[in-house]
Amino acid sequence: MASENGAGADGANGTNGADGADGYTAREMMVSAAAREIEDGDVAFVGMRLPLIAFQVAVSTHAPNAMSVFESGVVRDDPADGFLHTMCDLPNLDRAVSTTGMLDVMGRLARGDIDVGFLGGAEIDRYGNLNTTRVHAGDREIRLPGSGGACDIACMSDRTVILMAHEPRRFVERVEYVTSPGHGEGGDWRAEESVPGGGPSALVTSKATFGFDDGGELYLRTVHPGEDADAVAADFPWDLRTREDVTGDPVGETAEPTDEVLSLVRGFDPDGFWTAD
């Protein structure tokens, strides 16, 4: 697997092959795409796994003035010097800007001071509502771990970016339980419900990136190299809108991760614990 061959990332293997998709994993692509959703100067509310790596990539490349806050109370302005399984691993505490408590960081979120928050989910629907509480498989109800801080991030961040493996069973007409509200039922739903933040602005899956239109509905923005837009759309149980429907521009191709980004990802996750396929 390419992800285990970290040294190769310094070479040109992202560009010299006939098929660039062989040069990186789907999760590395997701990290790269997610990192681009962080703007310089953003205060990012960073969850676990891929978003954690995406922040480290962003602050190392195009967003050197970004800050990260974690629900545990950690506040950082740079990548941790060591691999992170969780936000509370010692490298994430070491040389942080601050290690404080949850009310402190959630207070910033509640005040509206967080620009971008990251979320994952077991299910997502047409309006970006997420479920991480319980799902059904046939007649059987499966209990999932629950919200953690995701509901708070979904409610109160200025915008949110959702990361999710591209599996058709995750795309549902209406989530069974709204753990983390997106754009609700569309339109002015968030304002009507008094949900303070701006809601989802992007979804990054292992095959494509998506935006949300003015009505809060998901639409296909770009497909990752090697993926087919029609096939991606067919994974959704509703008639998925596309960038063409929303802006008139055709669905694009997601930019590949640069060699610099791949090198960074493989530095932050040298064994591919989070980013191997």
Partner: protein, 297 residues
Amino acid sequence: MPADKTTSMAEAVGRIEPGSTVAAGLALEHAIPFAAGHELARQGTDDLTLVGPISDVLFDQLVGAGLVSRVRAAWTGNVSAGSGYNFRRAVEAGDLSVENHSNFSVALSLHAAALGVPYLPTRSLLGSDIAEEPQFRIAEDPFEGERVVQVPAIAPDWAFVHVQRAAPTGDAHLWGNTGVTYEAVRAAEHVLVTAEEVVDLDVIKSDPSRTRITREQVDAVVEAPFGAHPSPVAGRYNRDNEYFLEYADATRDADGFGAWADEWVYGVDGREEYREKVERDLSVQEPTTAAEVTYGQ
């Protein structure tokens, strides 16, 4: 002389009555009081209600041990591996009552109790199905007329807190991220402090800004080196991630959990014996020393 509150883990945990509400795992993945939790299991203290924001397998272990009637939490699982299988099994079998929260609503619940008020309002949760759970009320704020969610106070009977060092009096230093530790300590009726090290009170008083738990809040102090393993403790040891992964593999069915608990919980008589079973080197490789802090008069 202030009272010496040091005691053994067995004695301290023996004070917790069946049916109690216990808050634990308050600093999220950091400094989880596993040693105290395992002693609860050995003593078979059951019918517990567990309170916490996220719980990184400690709640799953206590559920698996058959001690828990109710969980009031935002997330219960295994951060390294995803699911907590005992928790899943118990909920799906109808053996466990769950009050679904977000992290912030847990924090606000404890903070409300710490302030002595019945609830605190928030604009989080609005629009979610969590806000529709029976413990919450959606209301109109009386000043501006905005919708808010009223989050009821939770005052646990006990809070378990693991710290780097504490004096015998109960005054304690802790550093690293703290999650909802302070709110829970102030909300709880009783507090058990487990400490990597028990130190002279002079050590604590040399750096009062690092003292965030004081004696009047604390019932018992137990010296428990390695007491948070497999979770990390700043300056002491790293997260034992393999242990979390092995736990996930071992507990996919109830028999597997039984065998795991026989080895790691019931098969040891305390933390010293437990520690001898952990062979991985989790020591801090590159200690960072804070700049000196000067106080004076």
